[in-house]
C-alpha cells in the first residue's frame, strides 16, 4: 500500500534521513523505533506531506504522492501533545475531518458518536477539550484521526506525555482498535516496550538508516548489530579480538574467551562485537566478582566486574564471586 523509496533529508547540514526505504501493507502496524533525534518524526511528516524529502519518493498503491498536498492524502496523524483545536468542543474536534470532507450533518453526528464510543469517550461530546485530562485529550486526538476513516494512520510518540499506568491502558486499547479497524498504521516511538506491544513489524532507525526490519520476535532474537542489541537491551555487548579467521573461531574479550560460529567471515585479529545472553544451561561460564546489586521487578540486577549485567533471582552481596553462563553471538565487525 504505502511504499517509501530511498527518502533522504538533511537537517542543518547533517544527514537526517539517508535513503530510507520500507513499505506498509494492508492492515499492518509498523513501529518505527529509534532514539530521539533519529529522524523518525521527520519521516512521518514526509509521509503526511507536511515536509518534502530532498530525494526519494512516497508512493501509495504505486502512485507517487509528491504532488498531493497533505489535505488530499487522506492520512491521519496523531501528535504527541495532541494538537487539539482549543476553540472547538470534543464533538467539533472529532467532526473536523468529516466536515472538511463535506459530509452531511447527520452522517457526521452518527460517525462522531460511533468513534467516541470506540475510544471510550461516550458522553464527552459537548465538553471543552481544554478541560480534559491528558489521557482524555489523547483519546480525542485518536478519535479525531479515526473519524474520517483515513487510509493510513500515523502516530508520532502519541503516549510520550502520559504517565506509566495510563500509557499501558491506552496502549492496550490502541492495539485493539488497530486490529479491529484494520487501518494500516505507522507508529513512531523511542520506547521499545510500546513498539513490542503494538507492532506487527519493527523498523529500527539509526543514523538515518533502517538497521533492522522484522517482527518483534525476529528483531529481539537476532538484533544483527551492536547498536540494535544495546538499544533494545537484549543482553551484554562486549568487544573482542578474533583468534582465527573463518566462520568458527575463538574471540578473546576482557571477560573471557568465547567460541563463536558465524557467517560473516572475519579475519584473524579483527575486532568484533559479541552479544552475550545469559544462559540457563550450556554456554560459556564466566567467573566474576559482584560489584553492584540493584533490586528491579522481582529480580536482582547484578553488575559484575568487567561491566557485565545479569538478572538473578537471589540477592548477592557485593564482593562475592559467582559463576554465570553466557551464550555468545557474533554481531559483526565493531
Amino acid at each position: 500500500m504505502l511504499t517509501l523509496e530511498s527518502i533522504s533529508k538533511h537537517y542543518e547540514d547533517q544527514p537526517l534521513l539517508d535513503g530510507v526505504s520500507f513499505s506498509v501493507g494492508l492492515g499492518e502496524t509498523v513501529c518505527l523505533l529509534g532514539a530521539s533525534g533519529s529522524g523518525k518524526s521527520t519521516l512521518l511528516r514526509i509521509v503526511a506531506g507536511l515536509e518534502l524529502p530532498e530525494a526519494g519518493r512516497v508512493l501509495w498503491g504505486g502512485a507517487d504522492l509528491a504532488s498531493t498536498p497533505p489535505h488530499a492524502r487522506d492520512f491521519g496523524l496523531v501528535f504527541q501533545d495532541y494538537a487539539l483545536f482549543p476553540h472547538l468542543t470534543v464533538f467539533e474536534n472529532v467532526a473536523f475531518g468529516l466536515r472538511m470532507r463535506n459530509q452531511p450533518k447527520d452522517a457526521i453526528a452518527s460517525r462522531v458518536t460511533e468513534v467516541l464510543g470506540i475510544v471510550n469517550l461516550t458522553g464527552f461530546a459537548s465538553r471543552r477539550v481544554t478541560d480534559l485530562s491528558g489521557g482524555e485529550q489523547q483519546r480525542v486526538a485518536l478519535a479525531r484521526a479515526l473519524a474520517p476513516r483515513p487510509r493510513l494512520l500515523m502516530f508520532d510518540e502519541p503516549l510520550g506525555a502520559l504517565d506509566r499506568s495510563l500509557k499501558e491502558d491506552l496502549l492496550h486499547e490502541l492495539r485493539a482498535i488497530l486490529h479491529r479497524t484494520k487501518i494500516p498504521a505507522i507508529y513512531v516511538t523511542h520506547d521499545q516496550e510500546e513498539a513490542f506491544a503494538l507492532a506487527d513489524r519493527i523498523l529500527l532507525l539509526h543514523e538515518g538508516k533502517i538497521l533492522r526490519d522484522g517482527t518483534p520476535a525476529e528483531v529481539w532474537n537476532d538484533p544483527q548489530s551492536a547498536w540494535a542489541a544495546r538499544f533494545l537491551g537484549v543482553g551484554n555487548v562486549v568487544e573482542g579480538v578474533c583468534q582465527a579467521s573463518g566462520s568458527k573461531f575463538q574471540v578473546e574479550t576482557n571477560v573471557g574467551a568465547f567460541a563463536i560460529r558465524c557467517k560473516h567471515g572475519h579475519a584473524e585479529g579483527e575486532t568484533v562485537a559479541l552479544l552475550l545472553r545469559q544462559a540457563d544451561a550450556g554456554g560459556t561460564r564466566v567467573r566474576a566478582r559482584v560489584e553492584d546489586v540493584v533490586f528491579s521487578r522481582e529480580r536482582f540486577k547484578v553488575t559484575l566486574r568487567g561491566g557485565l549485567v545479569v538478572q538473578l533471582t537471589s540477592a548477592l552481596k557485593v564482593g562475592e564471586e559467582i559463576e554465570v553462563a553466557f551464550r555468545a553471538e557474533c554481531l559483526g565487525h565493531a
Binding site: 511528516r45 503526511a48 506531506g49 507536511l50 498536498p69 497533505p70 489535505h71 488530499a72 492524502r73 487522506d74 492520512f75 491521519g76 496523524l77 501528535f79 501533545d81 494538537a83 487539539l84 483545536f85 482549543p86 476553540h87 473536523f96 475531518g97 466536515r99 472538511m100 470532507r101 481544554t130 479525531r144 484521526a145 474520517p148
Partner: protein, 592 residues
C-alpha cells in the same frame, strides 16, 4: 499620545503574573513603610489631582451647562461622532488589509533584511503626528515630490488630476501608516508563538490552505486579532493631528471638532460636551479591550514554529511583493521629508520670474532669520528653542514626581495599590481634552506671577506634557527599581557601606539606564506632542509641532520649505530618542 499608552498596557498584561509575585514577596515590609510610601506618592498624586482631575471635572461641569445641552449641539456632535466612527472603521479595515499579510510575512518567513524591515514598520508609531502629516505632504501633497514628478512628465502625457491632501484617502493612508505595526506586533507574535501542530493537524484532517485559516488559525487567534483591532480602532478614533493636517477643514473627528469649537468658534460648552463624549467612548473601548485580553486561550508551543525561507513559487512571489510594498510604503513618506526640505520646487513667497528648481540649503538657513513682513515676528528657530525648553522642563518635572512615586510603588501597601491605578488614569484621556480642560480651569488671575493667568504663562505646556508623560515615566522606572535585589543592598551594608554609598554602589548603576530611558521618553513625548500644545501654545511662544503646522498651511515655497526643514529636525531628534530608549531599556522591562 494615547497611542503610546495602550501598547504599554498590552505589555503590562503580559508581565502581570511576575508583578503579583513580587508584590507578595514585599508585602511583609509594607506596614512599616506606610508613612514614607504615602509621603513619596503625595507629590505625584497632588499634581495629577490639580492638573488632570480638576480640569476634567471642570469640563464635565461645563458640558452639563444648559448652553451645552442644546439640540443643535447634539445634532452636530452626532454627525461628528458618526464620521469619527466611519473613518476609524475604514482605517482599521485597511490597516488589517496591510497588517495581516505583513504579520504572516514576519511570522512565517525568513528573508534578508527582515529585522530591518520590521523595525522600519515600527518607526511611524513613535513619530509625532505633525511629522507624519508633513511626510505625507512632502510626498503626495499639492507641493510634494510626487505631483512634481507628474508635472515634469506632463510633456509625455496629459497630467492626470491628482489630489491627496484634503481627502479621506489621506487620513486613511496615514492611519494605516501609523498602526500597521500594532497588527504586526500583536497578531504576528501570537501567530509565531502558536503551536504549529494545530495547523498540521488541520491539514492532515483534510483542510486546504484557506480552510486552515478560516476554521483553525483565525478562530484560535481571535483574541489577539480582536485586541489588535480594538487598539487600532481606538487610535484611529482619537486621532487628531493627522485628521487636522491632512484631512483639511471638511473632515472633523471628535478630537478635531473639540479643537475647532474651542479655538475657532470659542464655543467652550460645545467643546466640553464633545470631550465628554470622547472620554466615554475611550473608556468603553478600554474596558472592552481589558476584558478581551484577559480571556486569551491561545495554545503556545514549547518550540514555536521557526520562520523559514520561502520555497514554492507562490511563497517567493508573496514574500518579495510584500517586502517591496512595505519598504516603499514606509520609506517614501519618511525619506520625502529630508528630500523635500532640501529641494526648491516652487517660488518663494512674493518672488517673481523664473523659479530655479534644484537642491537648496535655504530652508534651513531661513530658520534662523527673522523676516520682517512674515507672519511670525520671531525666527522659527525660536519654536525649536521653546520646544527644547518645554521638553527639558517636562523631563525635570516628570522625573521629580515619578521617581519617588515609582519607588513607593515597588513596595506598595493597600493605599498605594489604589493610587497605582490612579497614576495611570491620564493614559485614557486625550491631549486635546486636556488642553481644553486647562483653558477652562486655569484662566484666573494668579497672585504670585506677573502673568495674567497660568494659561498665559509658558509653564502651562510643560505641566500638560508632564501629565501625559508621567504614567510612562513611572512604568519605566518601576520595574527597574523592583529589579534591584534587596539582598545586594544588605550585602553592601554588611560590608560597611553607608545608606548613601549603598544607593551609589547598588541602586544607581541599575537604575541609571531606566532613568535615562524614562527621561528620553518624556523628552520625545513633549517634543512631538501636538494636541495639547495646539490649544495651549501662545502665538509668541509656539512649540515646534505647532510652528510646523502653521508653516505647512502658509503659502509660498519658503514657508513650506521651512516646515519641511523643521519636521526633518524633529523627526531626527525623535528617531535618536527612540534609539536611545531601545538601548537603555532593561531587558524584560516594558517596551513601548
Amino acid at each position: 499620545m494615547s497611542r503610546l499608552a495602550d501598547t504599554k498596557d498590552v505589555n503590562q498584561k503580559a508581565e502581570g503574573s511576575g508583578f503579583s509575585l513580587l508584590k507578595r514577596q514585599r508585602s511583609r515590609t509594607s506596614a512599616s513603610r506606610l508613612l514614607p510610601s504615602a509621603f513619596l506618592l503625595l507629590p505625584a498624586v497632588l499634581f495629577l489631582a490639580v492638573f488632570f482631575l480638576l480640569p476634567l471635572t471642570r469640563i464635565l461641569a461645563f458640558s452639563l451647562d444648559a448652553s451645552a445641552l442644546t439640540a443643535a449641539n447634539f445634532r452636530r456632535a452626532f454627525s461628528v461622532l458618526r464620521f469619527t466612527f466611519y473613518q476609524a472603521t475604514l482605517s482599521t479595515l485597511l490597516t488589517f488589509l496591510l497588517g495581516l499579510p505583513s504579520a504572516v510575512l514576519f511570522a512565517r518567513f525568513d528573508f534578508r533584511g527582515k529585522s530591518l524591515l520590521r523595525a522600519l514598520t515600527a518607526i511611524p508609531f513613535m513619530l509625532p503626528t505633525v511629522v507624519v502629516a508633513a511626510g505625507f505632504n512632502a510626498l503626495l501633497g499639492p507641493r510634494g515630490l510626487f505631483p512634481f514628478i507628474l508635472h515634469l512628465s506632463s510633456f509625455l502625457f496629459p497630467p492626470p488630476s491628482f489630489q491627496f491632501s484634503g481627502t479621506l484617502t489621506a487620513i486613511l493612508v496615514a492611519h494605516v501608516f501609523y498602526n500597521t505595526t500594532i497588527v504586526i506586533r500583536i497578531f504576528g507574535n501570537a501567530l509565531t508563538n502558536l503551536d504549529p501542530r494545530l495547523e498540521q493537524a488541520a491539514r492532515t484532517l483534510g483542510a486546504d490552505g484557506l480552510r486552515v485559516w478560516t476554521r483553525v488559525l483565525l478562530p484560535v487567534l481571535r483574541v489577539p486579532l480582536l485586541a489588535a483591532g480594538l487598539l487600532v480602532f481606538l487610535f484611529d478614533f482619537s486621532s487628531f493631528g493627522v485628521v487636522l493636517l491632512l484631512g483639511g477643514p471638511q473632515f472633523s473627528t471628535l478630537e478635531v471638532e473639540i479643537y475647532i469649537q474651542s479655538m475657532q468658534f470659542l464655543n467652550l460648552p460645545m467643546a466640553a460636551l464633545l470631550s465628554i463624549i470622547q472620554l466615554l467612548c475611550t473608556l468603553a473601548f478600554s474596558i472592552l479591550y481589558t476584558r478581551i485580553v484577559t480571556r486569551s486561550i491561545v495554545p503556545t508551543a514549547p518550540r514555536p514554529s521557526v520562520a523559514r525561507r520561502p520555497k514554492t513559487l507562490r511563497e517567493k512571489i508573496f514574500v518579495s511583493a510584500f517586502c517591496l510594498l512595505l519598504s516603499a510604503f514606509f520609506i517614501f513618506p519618511i525619506i520625502s521629508l529630508p528630500l523635500r526640505s532640501l529641494t526648491r520646487l516652487e517660488a518663494d513667497l512674493g518672488q517673481r520670474g523664473e523659479v530655479r528648481y534644484g537642491f537648496t540649503g535655504d530652508y534651513y538657513r531661513e530658520l534662523f532669520v527673522n523676516r520682517s513682513g512674515s507672519v511670525f515676528y520671531i525666527p522659527p528657530i525660536e519654536a525649536a528653542r521653546n520646544s527644547l525648553g518645554y521638553a527639558a522642563a517636562t523631563v525635570a518635572l516628570s522625573l521629580a514626581l515619578g521617581l519617588p512615586a515609582a519607588s513607593a510603588l515597588v513596595r506598595p501597601n493597600r493605599a498605594a495599590k489604589l493610587l497605582d491605578s490612579f497614576l495611570l488614569l491620564p493614559l485614557g484621556a486625550s491631549a486635546v481634552t486636556l488642553g481644553l480642560g486647562y483653558i477652562i480651569t486655569f484662566n484666573k488671575q494668579l497672585p504670585i506671577t506677573n502673568y495674567q493667568s497660568l494659561i498665559a504663562s509658558p509653564l502651562i505646556i510643560p505641566l500638560a506634557h508632564t501629565v501625559i508623560a508621567l504614567p510612562f515615566v513611572i512604568r519605566t522606572l518601576q520595574p527597574a527599581l523592583a529589579s534591584v535585589p534587596e539582598r545586594l543592598r544588605q550585602a553592601a551594608a554588611t560590608l560597611g557601606a553607608s545608606p548613601l554609598r549603598v544607593w551609589q554602589a547598588v541602586d544607581w548603576p541599575i537604575l541609571s539606564r531606566a532613568v535615562l530611558a524614562a527621561a528620553t521618553f518624556a523628552f520625545t513625548v513633549s517634543l512631538g506632542e501636538f494636541g495639547a500644545a495646539s490649544l495651549l501654545a501662545r502665538p509668541d511662544f509656539p512649540t515646534l509641532p505647532v510652528a510646523i503646522a502653521r508653516f505647512l498651511s502658509q503659502p509660498g515655497g519658503l514657508n513650506y520649505g521651512q516646515a519641511m526643514a523643521m519636521s526633518t529636525l524633529l523627526m531626527s531628534v525623535t528617531l535618536l530618542g527612540i534609539l536611545l530608549i531601545e538601548k537603555a531599556r532593561l531587558p524584560g522591562a516594558g517596551e513601548f
